[in-house]
């Protein structure tokens, strides 16, 4: 049976409208829940830089939220290390800021302190963002109070190769950064560089990290990302050092 054009057009219009309403309705309905899930995931990643990830996985969303609120105080600084007023750190979209020139970006800082007492700082958590081999990579870098030693890192990625570059999300890789130092002996910023090849022992060198076999390009991205963001945070770090 061959239908008339009018029938086909009417049918298509009705179908489009019905499906459109269905989708926008769902989006409206689930929007707030999705936002919350996203915010929670972000908090998990931030805490992951200073806490045992497996412990976070066993915590309920409410516990994570409560713990986050009692241990993290956040602020936003600019490229000169000056605090930017009126912006909540958690709402800063790092990916969007990454597209701007470094001078115009907003830089959130999450200060991890002992539960309930803001003066007893344990670590400074800084977000980092960059490009891996295939797509964006990002993460959080936690510095101890000497602002030199790395307390821990978490990395995430959008599309690195499974089993190769995607390994940056594993504990195995992330633990290699613990205890490394970002400043050289004379105080210059050296960041921490992941090496080519895997299986060597770099425990005596505080600026080198064992590489990921088969994922040298992702490692390059990680190195680049850490260096970029650490140099952007440098004025802030120096300011904090001067205060203490």
């Amino acid at each position: 049976m061959q239908q008339s054009n009018t029938y086909i057009i009417t049918f298509s219009v009705i179908l489009t409208v019905v499906l459109g309403f269905l989708l926008s309705g769902t989006s409206q309905l689930l929007g707030p829940i999705q936002k919350e899930a996203e915010a929670l995931d972000n908090k998990k990643q931030i805490l992951g830089a200073v806490m045992d990830v497996e412990k976070i996985a066993t915590m309920k969303p409410k516990e994570i939220k409560a713990y986050y609120e009692s241990t993290i105080s956040s602020k936003v600084v600019d490229i000169n290390g000056e605090e930017v007023a009126g912006v909540t750190a958690e709402t800063v979209d790092i990916a969007k800021n990454y597209k701007k020139p470094a001078e115009d970006r907003l830089y959130p800082v999450y200060v991890y302190h002992e539960e309930g007492s803001e003066d007893k700082v344990v670590a400074y958590i800084l977000p980092v963002f960059g490009a891996g081999l295939w797509d964006s990579i990002w993460g959080y870098l936690a510095l101890k109070t000497d602002l030199n030693t790395i307390e821990g890192v978490t990395f995430s990625h959008a599309g690195e190769t499974p089993g190769l570059g995607a390994r940056i999300t594993t504990l195995d890789i992330q633990q290699r950064y613990q205890g490394k130092e970002i400043f050289g002996e004379s105080g210059e910023l050296m960041a921490v560089v992941m090496q080519k090849g895997e299986g060597k022992d770099y425990s005596s060198d505080p600026h080198k990290v064992d590489g990921m076999s088969g994922a040298t390009l992702t490692a390059k991205g990680v190195n680049e990302m850490l260096k970029n963001y650490l140099s952007s945070y440098l004025p802030y770090l120096e300011k904090v050092k001067g205060e203490s």
Binding site: F11, L23, L30
Partner: protein
């Protein structure tokens, strides 16, 4: 111009049993004899991509079951009103809507899964099994039969990708559903003994190998030959 490709298998009988022999065949056929992955070799893309671990594979399987059953049902209900000339676009619109729904629901209630699977869930739209069933069955059959047919095909897809994921996770990561198996086995034999994992299994190549083996075993058993 007739582009009708749907098989008209409608049989007019007063009150057929809810699970008559014919209807049971709708479900059981795609499990082995007419399996969408191993016989028709459809839906390979996602079978390779998501099967490194059991958990995401299970979520993917459930998503595909939902999408195929619901789209088969929807298209079957509308089958007499859908204009033949735009039927593929109509099918696509319905499938795309359902897939988006699944994605949104995952994002709201299982954010970790969403992060891991989002790309592949979106790709269910292009999973040939979905469109294949719509075009070959739902366009010419009643809603209830279409549900059964969709369920059967989806199950056929699901058990294969779960089987692939089982071996890939076991050999690639030494775990099943995240539970360490290799470690436990190694500990039985003392400290010096440890089972090694094979990182080939974690890459898509591993899925090809496992899938190939499954197809080999199955075709040897059923005696299926490509024509």
């Amino acid at each position: 111009m007739s582009t009708e490709t749907a098989e008209k298998t409608e049989i007019k009988k007063p009150a057929e049993a809810l699970l008559s022999k014919r209807r049971k065949k709708l479900i059981s056929d795609p499990l082995v004899d007419d399996n969408p992955i191993t016989i028709q070799v459809l839906g390979i893309c996602s079978a390779l991509a998501v099967t490194t671990q059991m958990k995401p594979t299970l979520v993917m399987a459930l998503s595909v079951i939902f999408v195929i059953v619901m789209s088969n049902l929807t298209i079957s209900i509308m089958r007499n009103t859908i204009p033949t000339r735009v039927r593929i676009i109509v099918q696509l619109a319905v499938v795309a809507t359902l897939v988006t729904l699944v994605n949104e629901i995952l994002k709201a209630f299982a954010y970790d899964m969403y992060k891991e699977l989002s790309v592949f869930v979106g790709l269910i739209i292009t999973n040939c099994i979905v469109m294949g069933r719509l075009e070959a069955f739902a366009m010419g059959n009643k809603p209830y039969d279409s549900i059964l047919d969709g369920f059967g095909s989806a199950l056929g897809y699901s058990w294969i990708i779960l089987a692939v994921a089982f071996f890939r996770e076991l050999w690639g990561s030494g775990t099943i559903f995240g539970v360490p198996v290799f470690e436990t086995i190694s500990s039985w034999f003392g400290e010096d003994f440890s089972l090694a994992t094979n990182s080939l299994m974690v890459s898509p190549v591993g899925a090809f190998i496992i899938l190939g083996l499954i197809i080999w075993v199955q075709r040897t058993k059923t005696g299926y030959v490509e024509h």
